[in-house]
Symmetry: C2
Subunit: 206 residues, 2 copies
DNA sequence: CGGTTGGTCTAACATAGTTAGAAGAATTGC
DNA sequence: GCAATTCTTCTAACTATGTTAGACCAACCG
């Protein structure tokens, strides 16, 4: 029973250091912006010199990618935690509200996840898949609410993205746009409702 | 009649060179992205070395600012060229259509004007004022259509911005979101119409 | 205990934006 | 017409940043 060490202490230490590096990068990003991250600063914050980071990440973009993956996991977890009530308007409102809250809770994270703002950075397929999965859940949920037109989902996400991006671009920290989540949801729902009814009447929905 | 030279040839030459530099910067941006502009490349394209550009612009960001101003002037000219028909739905559609077309016609220009994507770059007040003026025209137009609720304008711009940003972020070059301009406009109009009627009935509008 | 692996370092490179200061060209003033 | 001034361009260099090469040292493994 005392044979083979079940823990790989080396790997554990390595994972801890990686997490520490990511955390330092988040801190710097929140203080100086996403683009304000420099490897020398990150390294200094974890008590290293810049080149040492390359034992843990292949490149600066690999650090961004790890941050992206972390953010995408948080987003996915939040989406999965949404508990549909069955009332379409309420569920739509909660969905858009979650999106906007997620964005305003950590603008830097939002910028990394949903805006193409780091020159030369693209998330790896694995990281991106997390974000895609969250959207797929949203799509399935809308479908469950009877909104199966793909254009409707695109329109819905565009409204959420528009409110958020306008907020950040024109009045960061304020709520001039984000306070429009409820009316925007009502607008959207009022628009898709009759179409949905028509489709159902024609036997297209289910 | 032959006294004082009415033309300042020096200034004219200077203005020409400045324009040439800006044009070279646009070319590089369209080829390699906004962030792909390097002063050495720009200089090479106009037959100079990088430091010489500093005779014409205080910094790289000053070049971005001149590009921003040029784009904002184009946008403003387009907005002013919109000729309202008086039919609200048509005018709204034309307005959003113009915005989306302007964006897709030159993504790099759109990125510079409407997204915060160049680290450390902020348009100068003079340049920004041009963009603000365009929005002011849009606001006045909506007001003329009877839509005087400020939230309505914000919602309208958010929809346009959302469709555009989703298009660029998720399917650059395609039309999955931009083709939703017409339905989105109808959705918006159907939403504000009754409210507008109510306000008018109450004597709030004019 | 000796060899291997892994982590950290210093030194250095390439590419950026930017500055200093010299050299040359164009314009202006007498 | 020439001298002084101003403008333009250049080379050289500085700083900052991502990244690589290679040495050193400690920890682990047989």
């Amino acid at each position: 029973m005392l044979d083979q060490p079940t823990r790989d202490r080396r790997a554990e230490q390595r994972a801890r250091t990686r997490a520490e590096i990511i955390e330092a990068a988040w801190e710097i990003a929140r203080e100086s912006g996403l683009a304000g991250i420099t490897l020398r600063d990150v390294a200094a914050r974890v008590g290293m010199r810049a080149p040492s980071l390359y034992s843990y990440f292949d490149s600066k973009n690999a650090i961004y990618d790890a941050m992206f993956a972390e953010g995408a996991r948080d987003f996915l977890a939040g989406v999965e935690a949404l508990t549909p009530t069955g009332d379409p308007l309420t569920d739509l409102r909660n969905g858009m509200r979650f999106y906007v809250d997620f964005a305003t809770a950590d603008p830097v994270r939002y910028q990394l996840l949903f805006q193409r703002t780091i020159p030369g950075f693209e998330p790896s397929p694995e990281s991106y898949a997390l974000a895609v999965k969250a959207l797929e859940i949203a799509r399935a949920e809308l479908s469950r609410l009877g909104i199966s037109d793909p254009g409707a989902l695109d329109l819905f996400t565009a409204i959420g993205a528009g409110l958020t991006s306008q907020q950040f671009a024109n009045e960061p920290g304020g709520d001039r746009w984000t306070r429009l989540v409820d009316p925007a949801t009502e607008m959207f729902y009022a628009y898709v409702l009759p179409r949905q009814a028509t489709r159902r009447a024609k036997g297209e929905g289910q």
